[in-house]
Symmetry: C2
Subunit: 295 residues, 2 copies
């Protein structure tokens, strides 16, 4: 009767966990959310959720906050590794879930999971090579290349590219490693530190948004010329400020100065640099999409 397999997803975020089962965004059959405290508690709640469903999922995907080990060939695949987060260092997420629920478990970073979600069900359904950038507490990027999540030697750490300063901006930067990398200049905490107020309290029209758009546009240009994506998706909490996306598009077009002659960019920038389509379920839907991809 029901040919579509049931997917399970775990969004393992630094502040909240979301677990769900379903076949896609229009058919989420069950869902729980809880704040991220200790890892033992979180794993127990997630496992109980899946085991008490009327039907077990065919596979479970986990999209986790990092740093993680997402190399399937590694002995610590599925671990959150050297995180500063208390009680989460070197925590195996995949093993306990697989053993307790008894289905295949696929694992990746939260940003890679979100990108896979957009590829399956969201803003990147019609392309195979694209970039997903999330701008929030941190800045992370995922590249899907010819349909596959790109890893390479480690996994990309796109939030740490080094970008030219915005004119007149003398903020020292907030990244403990690189100071003035993209994340150090344009993450939510960077904005708050530069302007001494939460990003959400900064009014529309404030110069903060022009500076913010500068850093994100420069980063997007660098990703475009390096990765040659067919689409760029900009998500995350900071991007909820609706004035940002149009400003970024304008600066990208202006700074590229016609060097890239592709109609997809020069004539259709509004459908080239876009917002995610999956809204506030993007994380858990991304995790479910990891499961869908594995089946």
């Amino acid at each position: 009767m029901d040919a579509t397999p049931l997917y399970g997803g775990i969004e393992a975020g630094g502040t909240k966990f979301v677990c769900a089962t379903g076949t896609g965004p229009d058919d989420v059959r069950a869902e729980i959310r809880f704040p991220t405290r200790g890892s033992t508690e979180a794993l127990a709640l997630a496992i109980e959720f899946f085991r008490t469903q009327p039907k077990l999922p065919s596979a479970i995907g986990i999209g986790a906050f990092g740093p993680v080990d997402s190399d399937p060939a590694s002995s610590t695949y599925g671990y959150i590794t050297n995180t500063p987060k208390e009680g989460w260092q070197n925590t195996d997420l995949v093993g306990p879930v697989r053993r307790a629920v008894g289905v295949p478990v696929v694992f990746d970073t939260d940003v890679n999971a979100a990108a896979v979600g957009e590829h399956h069900w969201g803003a990147a359904r019609d392309v195979n090579t694209f970039l997903y950038l999330t701008v929030g507490t941190g800045i992370g990027g995922a590249a899907i290349i010819r349909g596959k999540r790109h890893h390479g030697l480690m996994h990309p750490e796109m939030g740490h590219i080094l970008v030219p300063r915005a004119e007149g901006d003398d903020f020292e930067g907030k990244c403990p490693y690189h100071g003035q990398c993209l994340e150090g200049m344009a993450s939510g905490p960077a904005i708050a530190a530069r302007w001494k107020m939460a990003a959400t309290d900064i009014p529309a029209g404030h110069i903060a948004w022009r500076i913010q758009a500068h850093y994100l546009a420069i980063a997007v240009i660098n990703f475009i010329v390096t990765l040659s994506p067919e689409r760029v998706i900009l998500g995350g909490g900071v991007m909820q400020r609706s004035e940002l996306l149009p400003m970024i598009r304008t600066i990208v077009l202006d700074r590229l100065r016609g060097y890239i002659r592709r109609d997809e960019i020069t004539r259709h920038i509004d459908s080239y640099i876009v917002a995610p389509a999956l809204g506030d379920r993007a994380g858990v839907l991304g995790a479910m999409a990891l499961a869908a991809e594995a089946l």
Copy 2:
């Protein structure tokens, strides 16, 4: 007797053409070189070269100066497109060679061809995801991802990433499109314009090389965090200055500040950021490698 197919290669450079046949770097059976004048002449000389060999190659690869159309699905695949170079605009290289020699012809940018050459026979034989950057009259980059030349929407234009200025450098930049992009700050002509002498005349120990190493190191960092390559190869005329490579390695390690925890980078930088291995035949060997890859 001889099971290895014979490969043909055409390095179609902006200043010189090189044509060769052989089975690899240790077995180049014939070669001609001539200065790049008109396209009709160049094509006639190349075709004559292959047709007069004792044995026709099984396939011919062409690595061409750009901009090119390297999309096999395009009706102008194999064309040099909107180049400023007199007599070369909208020139079909693939069609005439295929018709006259009667073998399959594969086409890509010179930098992609060089990367494929290093993958087959050079400094990247043992990896499948790597970056090849050439620093000369222009700056171009090629990404090989899971063994394949990366194209995406257009093809990467890595020379045009935007990078922070070196301290104390007030050079206005030389890229007609972006001024201060990487190519605008660190190509051979940019060095010459900044210091008012040819790069080859600038002595060792001159601050020019520290500034040059800064721009290339920042670019390499950005490529590392974006593409997560297993190796970075730095070639091209400017990289012939032997002091550059060690300086770049030092700056890359210093600026990454331990954020990327991979022994391949932190402990073995000398085998992570390397020079090409194919020397002054890199161009035509790369073209031959395109043919090898296609067979």
